[in-house]
Amino acid sequence: MSFDVMIVGIGGQGTILTSNILGKACVIEGIPVRGAETHGMAQRGGSVESQIRIGQQYGPLIPPGTADLLLSFDLMETVRAVHWLKENGQIFTSQEFVVPTSVFMQDYPAPDEHMLLEMLDSRKYKMIDCHQIAEEAGNLLTQNIVLLGAASPEIPLKRESIEKAIRETVPQKTVDINLKAFDMGIEAGKSD
């Protein structure tokens, strides 16, 4: 059995980078790992997902209703992806969300935060203000690392392995800021 993580967001928010960090951390620990991700045109501002299966030796696809953990960089995408989770699976989600352009163009009612949280129903979720924390860490682009930090105690990988993987993955001159964002994320994940 693998520990299956679903990472969702909007094209350009860093889902692939986040899953790369987990994949590299697995290699550092010598654990087999499989991942699947969205490439090509689908990335242009659309819903994207990265599936990552820690300890998996077969295929890269997570069966719906079985994921152990959902990481989401957009609250609306969290709701869209919740059916991937097993019944008591854990959610870590960014508080922010972007309303799709089609909603404005076609005059649909735009969902608000309250409505989206209600749709999460009885799910276990932790909402993180990634924007605010990343800004404090010194770079808005580290929002994905903040969320990864918050979720990291739930992931069966050592903190040192994930940190080493971050060093190997992010651009050299941003390593310190990303590690700081990761730390701050861990702290944010602890608080209620």
Binding site: V27, G59, V82, T101, F104
Partner: protein
């Protein structure tokens, strides 16, 4: 040996390096593009890489390199192999000398494609070996060994990964990169390389004689293998084999087909030890056809019995469901998952500041009742703007337009085609349209890059695949040489001028070419072009939604009034659209 976490296409690229490849050619196409994108970025390269203008060109160049004794690979997506099908069929006759691998990446579920097509059928059609990996490690090992297999049988080898191989990731055990010591030399032999009837009849015979030997060899090499465990069996291939392994019961036999052609006698031997067989494969029932030919009285379930769908892609829970339906034991049970929440969709969308949106917005303004044939590229997303009425395959915008003109539909026909697609297979359509007197407007959306597949340079870019500068081709000169007399180049971000050119085209008979030229916004972002941002003066906005209807993702509605977000790239088109002048340069406080 060293283990890395790699994308399938990176693992495949590394496999080529371990085989000391000499020549790499291809045309970008999801999910195949990153193989060349990986190889072209290698600064210590001892091999040659090029992005060719289309798949037929890439194929023929790689074939020629093979004839010169070098190891060569050409890469493409499955529909690219249609373009290269002409040389493919004959290359099986002429054969290969240096290892020649054709990578054709299939896309079950059409994640990024116009159809769900099975390249394995081409290998059976052409009678060349085909390798079909089920894991990333296997993809890496197979492509590494495919060159030697090609040399062993003097035949091209088709290597056929699918989306879930190319675009999935895994820990992959890699070997050392090897450098080639081969030198190109074409050994003339007209009986081999000139397929006049007298030669081709003999070459066809030789090709057929190779088949039984290839079938045996593919078993020896372990590509086609089985394990007998009970009276029920699953026979599978491709990435589907990974899903089968994940869910199959412990007492069920398993045969994995990793290569074609399949030895029928060997397969019959396996089938006859069982009461019941389920065939699990994506796309066409290629394995199932062979199984049914040799299954005798053994029950066979698969696509033809309605147990496995012809369409879409496989997944662990779907495979488990097919096993259960066929009465074959699984090791896991999946509950019916809850339905996804009902939310407004978030489809992919043209970027903020993308010139395709502006060009198509203007087309819709000038040609209200027009017909809009389009083509393959980011601009296919213009379907959301109502300016994409047809898309079938590369280059088919101009020809569908001229065909409609020939048919005599009286409405304005305005087609769109990108720079790379025009050079791929659009030019012939333009020559034909001018020659035969079509009455159409051709808008070439020239953003100087092959954007959709991940920003590969093309002959308009001024750079080769490896970043060496090359003279950018002149689209204007090409169009004029095709015989078009109305050729106007204008940047769509100058909306007024662009609208005027379209109006002039509308009023002119014949083939009108409008080249809409503006660099891709992603290229501009990467080259650090900063045009600043725009903002809506809330006190001036009347909430008419003219800018909202433009569909830019940087413009949203807040409390009934328009607002511009951080996504703004500063193209300034919304300024020209706003009827009350409420949009202006962002003023920092």
């Amino acid at each position: 040996m060293v283990v890395h976490y790699l994308l399938g296409n990176e693992a495949i690229a590394h496999g080529c390096l371990e085989a000391a490849v000499d020549i790499v050619c291809g045309y970008p196409g999801t999910p195949s593009s990153e193989v060349i994108d990986t190889l072209r970025m290698d600064p210590d390269r001892a091999y040659k890489v090029e992005w060719s203008v289309n798949e037929k060109v890439a194929f023929e160049e790689a074939l020629a390199a093979s004839w010169c004794g070098l190891r060569a690979i050409c890469t493409m997506k499955h529909v690219g192999l249609n373009v290269a099908a002409d040389p493919l069929m004959v290359s099986a006759y002429t054969g290969a000398k240096g290892g020649f691998v054709i990578l054709s990446a299939d896309d079950p579920f059409a994640h990024s494609s116009q159809n769900e097509q099975d390249s394995r059928c081409y290998s059976l059609f052409a009678r060349i070996p085909c390798l079909d990996p089920s894991t990333l490690q296997e993809a890496h090992d197979m492509v590494r060994d495919a060159f030697a297999l090609s040399e062993e049988f003097s035949l091209p080898v088709l290597f056929r990964p699918t989306t879930r191989i190319c675009h999935s990731k895994s820990d992959v055990d890699m070997g050392d990169v090897k450098k080639s010591d081969r030198a190109a030399f074409f050994d003339k032999d007209s009986r081999q390389y000139v397929v006049i009837p007298a030669h081709t009849r003999i070459l066809h015979q030789k090709l057929n004689q190779k088949q039984p030997i290839i079938k045996k060899r593919l078993i020896e090499l372990g590509y086609n293998r089985y394990e007998i465990k009970g009276k029920a069996a699953v026979i599978c291939g491709g990435v589907g084999a990974s899903y089968v392994r994940e869910v199959i019961g412990p007492d069920v036999s398993l045969a994995v087909i990793g290569a074609y052609p399949v030895d029928e006698g060997w397969l019959a031997g396996f089938i006859q030890k069982h009461d019941k067989i389920l065939v699990v494969e994506e796309l066409s029932p290629v394995i199932e056809e062979i199984v049914r030919q040799v299954s005798g009285c053994v029950l066979v379930y698969g696509k033809k019995s309605g147990h496995v769908p012809y369409e879409g892609e496989l997944s662990p829970e779907r495979v488990a469901h097919y096993l259960t339906a066929a009465g074959i034991a699984t090791s896991v049970r999946y509950e019916e998952p809850q339905k996804p929440a009902a939310l407004p969709n978030r489809p992919p969308i043209l970027c903020a500041g993308c010139m395709h949106r502006t060009a198509m917005y203007a087309m819709k303004k000038v040609f209200r009742d027009g017909i809009f044939p389009s083509d393959i590229g980011c601009y296919t997303l213009g379907i959301q703007l109502g300016t994409v009425d047809t898309t079938i395959c590369m280059g088919a915008s101009i020809t569908i337009a001229s065909g409609m003109s020939l048919a005599g539909d009286a409405r304005d026909i305005v087609c769109t085609i990108g720079d790379s697609t025009f050079l791929h297979s659009g030019i012939q359509g333009l020559v034909n349209a001018v020659y035969n007197g079509a009455n159409i407007t051709v808008v070439i959306l020239d953003n100087r890059i092959t954007a959709m597949t991940g920003h590969q340079p093309n002959p308009t870019t001024g750079l080769t695949a490896c970043g060496v500068s090359s003279p950018p081709v002149s689209l204007e000169a090409i169009c004029r040489a095709c015989g078009a007399t109305f050729v106007e180049t204008v940047s769509p971000s100058d909306l007024t001028t662009f609208l005027n050119v379209l109006k002039k085209a509308k009023a002119t008979m014949g083939v009108k070419v409008v080249i809409a030229r503006q660099p891709c916004v992603i290229s501009e972002k990467r080259s650090k072009t900063n045009r600043g941002k725009y903002a809506v003066r809330q006190e001036s906005c009347i909430g008419c939604k003219a800018c909202i209807k433009f569909g830019c993702p940087a413009i949203e509605l807040r409390g009934g009034l328009a607002a511009i977000t951080d996504l703004c790239s500063g193209c300034g088109v919304c300024v020209q659209i706003c009827p009350v002048g409420a949009i202006g340069r962002e003023v920092k406080e």
